[in-house]
Structures are given as structure tokens and as C-alpha cells.
Amino acid sequence: MNDNRLSRSSVPGFATIQRNIEKKFLLPTYLLVSFFLLILDSTDFKAIKVVKGLTNDLVTYSVWILKTPIKYPINVIISSVKNINFNAKTIDEQLNDDISKLTSENNQLIFYKNENENLKRILNIRNKEDYSFVYTKIIHENTNEFNKNFTINVGSNEGLQINQAVVRNNVYLGKISELNLYSSKVMVVTDVNSRIPVTIPSRGANAILKGNGMGGADLLFYPLNIKLEDGDQIYTSGTDGSIKEGLYVGKVMGDKDRRFFKNYKIQLGFSDHLLNYVSVLKSKR
């Protein structure tokens, strides 16, 4: 009888009370913790930065380990599909032509380089800062509505610093935006927050290249009296002091007068979605 009464009782059990308490207190607790983390994140305490860096490393490498079994077969399939070729002979002939053309151009470049160095010696002009390459592997690619970045597997342990340029075959890809101990985040040139000083040598003009967040970049602050033309090449100017000058960024495509937004279309120097390895340009100083 007593058992029956107990089972019908409207008094909540321990589990229900616990669930109610959790429901009432979890929401404010998590919101408070989130705001606390936000405030801590915006401060410049070194200890907090170290803890954040270590947490980021932990998350990044855990995700990389988890992701590898999924990503590896996908990459193998994509690359094998890419490599299937029925016109191997024609392509081989084309490549041979390209090699001979590039070899002659390279010889010419060596000649110009020597000439340039001789002239610099005569005019007593010192060489600008030397840079060394740090080869790294991309372990994660991230895209969301705010950022476009990727993560590389070296950090402050290799002496990297924020804002150092990341390149692939001397083509500018982006710069280091966040530094952890064993990994770093690289802000790609197409990120909305990316702004780099560039120069257009064929027109003698300087400008700022700003990522548009939609897979491209726009030129800002270029001299209005200069009209750029199709194929004008864009290089980093190095005026910000952190990015090496003379890195190829891309070229101007089409006339801006023909475009709806009255802005030059820029074709960036890199187009491969499946990049695996990149290098960071580290100042030797």
C-alpha cells in the first residue's frame, strides 16, 4: 500500500530535482564562463596567452589525428582522378618546350642578377634583410563566414612570429595571424581582414590588397590617375616591414570600367585547392 502511494506521489524524485537544478543553473553558468573567457582572451596577460596557445595546439592536433583517416582516402581519390591522363605524349612534348623556354629565361635572369649586384656594389647600396624558409605542412584548412585561414604545424618553437609571410613557390599566400607553441594560423590573402601593401611595377604604383572574403581580393588606395591593364603583375611592396618585398601576388584581370562594381578583378597567383606544404619566410635578423 505504502509503495503504491509513494509511486503515485507528486513529490519530485532526486533525479528530477537534480535535472531542474541543472536546467536552472547551467545556462547562466555557461554564459558567465563564456563572457569570462572572452574577457580573458582580450587581455594581454602572457600566462593566458600560453594557456590559450597550448589549448589551441591540443585541439588542432586532436582534430588532425581524427581527420586523417577520413581526409587521406579522399585526397588519394582526388589526386588519382587528377592524374589520369590520356594525352601524356602531347603534354610531355609541351613540357619539354616549356623547360627549354624556362632554362633560357633563367640564364637571362642570372645575367640580370649579376648585373644588378655589380651595379649595387658600384652605387654602394646595401642588400635588404635576408630571409630563410621554414617548410611546413598544412594540417587544417578553415573557412567560415568571418575567416579564411589554415593551420600549419610549426609555431613559436621554430622562431616564427606574427605577420610573417607564407609562400608557395615564391607566390604570396598569406601571413601568420595567430601563433601557438607547435602550430600557427595563417590568414589567407582572400580573408576579409587581410590587407597587404603591394606594388604594380609596370605602372609604378603602390596600393593595398584587401581580401573580399569571397575567394578573391580587391585593390584599394591606388593612384586614380593610373589606369591598370590586363596582365599587370602585382608584387608585395614590403613597406609594412614584415612581409618581404617582391613576392608575386597575382595579376590584374580585365578592365574595371567594364565591371559592375568598378573595381579591378585580381587573379591571385595560387589556384590549387589541395595545397599540402608551404613555407614561412623568416627574417634572419
Binding site: Y30, L37, T60, N144, E145, K148, F270
Partner: protein, 162 residues
């Protein structure tokens, strides 16, 4: 007693949202091609919070937000706030509606998304170090709204949560 298939079906949204959070490029292999301008995370959180309030726990959303912030170099805690707020707004709007039809649901989605984006804007403006691109946020809002019916149709087909 739930079968394994039912369990997988129950945790399917969790798996999808974790995959999206950890690696957007699994679905859209691009950091140079136009990025995911549709905020699939918000669509999933809203849909399952609206129709099944017990599906995503606050703890899950909190941890998911922290993971997302860590992966995407966002201010730590910002996404947690957004995810939890979206979840709570969706539950609140579901409670307020006496009759649930498609029109009500879509209106609720627009309201939730708008409020969440305002919260995101405020948090990133106050605590973020990088400047905000408002036009991109607006494009994201529009495309997410447009894509909601499609995603909803897919989820309705799979889960039938009415």
C-alpha cells in the same frame, strides 16, 4: 530499447554539426573558393532546438562553441554564446506558438537568426581584434535564410519531427 539505427539517427545531427565545426573543408574543399556563405550550423541548431528541445544539451553547445572558436581563431567563448542563445530563442519561440505551421516556423527562424547575428556582431565588435565585414555578415544572413527551406525539407524527410 533503441536499435543501433535509431541511435545513429538520433545522434546524426550531433555528428554532422561536429564535422562542420571541426572541418568545413570536408564538405567544401576551399579556402580560396567562395566559403560556406550558408551558415549550416545555425540551421541545424535552430531546427532541432525548435522541434526537439532535448536534442542538443547546453553543455554540448558550449563545448562545440569552444571547439569552433579554437579552430577558427575567433575570440574564445563567442560561438558558445551564439549557439546557446540560438538554442534558447528557438525553444522560447516554439513555446510561444500555439499552432506550428511552416509559416510560423520560418518566421521563428528569421527572428532567431537575426537576434543571434546581432549578438555575434556585438560580441565580435566588443571582444574581437579583427575588423568586421558587415556586408559579408549580411550576405551570410540572406543566404542562410534562403537555404533554410531546402535544409528543412531534407531534415523533415529524414526525421519527421513535426
Amino acid at each position: 530499447m533503441y536499435s543501433i539505427i535509431e541511435k545513429i539517427k538520433y545522434y546524426f545531427p550531433h555528428i554532422i554539426i561536429i564535422l562542420i565545426t571541426l572541418n568545413d573543408s570536408l564538405f567544401v574543399n576551399s579556402w580560396i573558393a567562395p566559403g560556406p556563405i550558408v551558415n549550416l550550423k545555425y540551421i541545424i541548431i535552430f531546427y532541432f532546438s525548435f522541434f526537439d528541445k532535448e536534442r542538443f544539451s547546453i553543455t554540448f553547445l558550449f563545448i562545440l562553441g569552444l571547439l569552433f572558436d579554437s579552430m577558427y581563431a575567433m575570440p574564445l567563448g563567442s560561438s558558445s554564446i551564439c549557439f546557446i542563445c540560438l538554442n534558447k530563442i528557438a525553444i522560447f519561440l516554439h513555446k510561444k506558438r500555439t499552432r506550428i505551421n511552416y509559416q510560423n516556423e520560418f518566421t521563428s527562424f528569421i527572428i532567431s537568426l537575426f537576434v543571434t547575428q546581432i549578438i555575434a556582431l556585438f560580441v565580435l565588435h566588443e571582444f574581437g581584434k579583427a575588423p568586421l565585414e558587415y556586408s559579408l555578415l549580411f550576405i551570410n544572413l540572406i543566404f542562410t535564410t534562403i537555404c533554410y527551406p531546402l535544409a528543412r525539407y531534407f531534415f523533415q524527410y529524414l526525421f519527421r519531427l513535426n
